[in-house]
Amino acid sequence: MIVELGHLALVISLGFAALIAVFGLVGAQRNQVGLMNATSTLVSGQFVFIALSFGVLTYAFLIDDFSVAYVANNSNTLLPWQYKFSAVWGAHEGSFLLWILIMAGWSLAVAVKGRDLPQAFQARVLGVMGILNVGFLAFLLFTSNPFERLVPMTPAEGADLNPLLQDFGLIVHPPMLYMGYVGFSVAFAFAVAALLSGRLDAAWARWSRPWANVAWAFLTLGIALGSWWAYYELGWGGWWFWDPVENASFMPWLAGTALIHSLAVSEKRGTFKSWTLLLAITTFSLSLLGAFIVRSGVLTSVHAFAVDPTRGLFILIFLAMVVGSSLTLYALRTATISAKASYTLASREAFLLLNNILLIISMAFVLLGTLYPLAYELATDGAKISVGVPYFNAGFVPIMLFLAAALGVAPVLNWKRTPASRLIGNLGWVAGLSVVLGVGLPLVLADAVGWQVLVTLVLAFWILGSHAADFVRRARKGSLPVAYLGMQIAHLGFAVTLIGVAITSVLSVERDLRMAPGESTEVGSVSVRFVGVARVSGPNYLADQGEFVMVESGRRYTLRPEKRSYLARQSVMTEAAIDPGLFRDVYISLGEPLEAGAWAVRVQVKPFVRWIWLGGLLMAFGGVLAVMDSRYRRLKVRQARTTAAVAAEGT
């Protein structure tokens, strides 16, 4: 009964979404205050009903209601409660319900936080988000209903959640990622609303900037969490695989990074306006492309597409409609935009443009590599290929290094033009110092490091040096706005990730060994002794737990990797044991048992691997900090005053 309530709540919220779309857009077009006021109220209603529906599904998981097909397929009575909770978004249907919940949440945020916006503009934004939610809800209800019943053949026991997903990472990673994906729908809706209203001044850029930044910060966090989860949970120490699923989240991130930079120019200089609009549309379209296509399985194979033709078809039509209509609107409206841009090559505008070009090229590069197997299969009538990791590295790495080189110049640049003397005066010594440090430090502290590491370190010091110098300069003048600090921290994060990626990729040591109990070996500077394997049991699995005594520069510690066998699915999983550290991780995983008590063992020493995610955290933090800037609050106060003044005049 309660389950049917959840289903009903979804149907009702579909009605709400449709009303929001109509009231918001019509109300704004005809300037009817009543309709527009109703839109905001409807948004609250929509959120309540979707939250209710989400709550019902969660409840069904917590009480093991296996009459619900989705619960039966993804849970089990033995599943620990926190994983029952996160299993709600552990597979297709539920994760899409989470997506919709987050979409409703962002709409609510716009309804509440966007009160300072002109009402017609806010109503349009909500209306556009309403249209999107109609599409999402229809998709969920008609092709992926999470409340479908298994009656009368209710199983006594559930099939259990995929063991890989029984982990803290799955509790936090999808919500963060979706907050980012869906958050870009706000920037998209702002862009479409601006196009609809025809008011394409710098104001909308200022309005949408905080939203784009926050969405970007969430996506950054989501991707970093995903990478960290893959690292420790997949069991073999990889942190990025250029897998289609990863690329799907990475492409909107690249476009979104371009967007938040381009928005800065649009807000501050009033230029790049049509480009920024296009980026807002592109970023969300890539979110849709990514999330939908991954969910439908189109990317893994053309044939997976045929497995569920309705889902795939729905997705394609929806994507085509969203992209097609927004681009048509864009083409119709932006022809009238004229911008008097005058800036030289040595200006902040030019370098932000370069930033955008590089990010979009890298995005296109990843897109090509991701979709190429699909195109190839279609074009050659079924010949199958895969695009190797070297392809992605070959193109992506140089672009990012180029980006890093340009980023080092950024803090010194003025808008419009920068005198050569200022460039040389401020950057000359930074360039010298970064070469000395970047080459010198590794030569003093380590043995052979490889030229790739040297190049990356020089560039990282280049970024750090020029930013630090600019920070000191500004601090002396006493002008350190919060937005500026946000930029500093985010750029610092980029440098940190760069260092982590380069050092981990080049200097990691990995050994696959055959070890019998009592045997010892040396891996890098770590000595490893295999004590033996013991049988242990968890709540819903049995495991062989290895015991390894490690000695590393005088420090002694024990690592206990496991080979788990989950009962419900009879599936085997590798649970690595990690000794984490800021400058290196020691990582052990058990392969398969061999004869006479010996095991296949993988031992890895991964220097600076944590820096990859630390940099991600810094980037996300910087992105959020930038939004806290007082100038966005000033805007509110000013508008509140204007509204008050208008109201006073009216009486």
Partner: protein, 152 residues
């Protein structure tokens, strides 16, 4: 030419050269890093090139997995359960879902003796998952070996 136009020209030239170079590099990179996929039938028939990096796949034949007692070297036979099978040699840790009767993909090259020297053995982490290249061979998850079906 006035300074404004000259700046524009420089930018346009810069973009053109940049675009040309990148497109060339991208196509080269794509060309070098595509791994064609071959089913057992094609490997046995000699359609798969010798020495080139390729992917091949099939079902792990029952009782064909042989471990070297001294090292991590292993060999096994991949079959399509019709009439084609070939031997794979690999050294290292096999994935968790590597089992006899399971569909897997190997990446590597065929040596002069017709043995597939694998650098990577892939089996995804979900037992319901079928590597896309093998999807044609058997529909969905299967514990029992089925005769493979090449019809599309």
């Amino acid at each position: 030419m006035n300074p404004k136009r000259r700046t524009r020209l420089i930018i346009v030239l810069f973009l053109l050269v940049g675009a040309g170079v990148s497109v060339t590099l991208v196509l080269l990179a794509l060309n070098e890093n595509i791994n064609m996929f071959y089913p057992p039938e094609a490997v046995v028939a000699g359609e798969a090139p010798v020495g080139a990096q390729i992917r091949a796949g099939g079902m792990v034949l029952e009782d064909s997995v042989a471990r070297d007692p001294e090292s991590l070297a292993v060999s096994f036979v991949l079959t399509d359960y019709v009439d084609s099978e070939f031997t794979v040699r690999y050294s290292g840790i096999l994935p968790d879902l590597f089992r006899e009767g399971q569909g897997i993909i190997v990446q590597g090259a065929i040596d002069a003796d017709g043995v597939f020297q694998a650098s990577q053995v892939l089996a995804k982490h979900d037992e319901n998952y079928m590597p896309p290249e093998l999807a044609d061979m058997s529909p969905g998850h299967q514990k029992q070996p089925n005769p493979l079906n090449y019809d599309r």
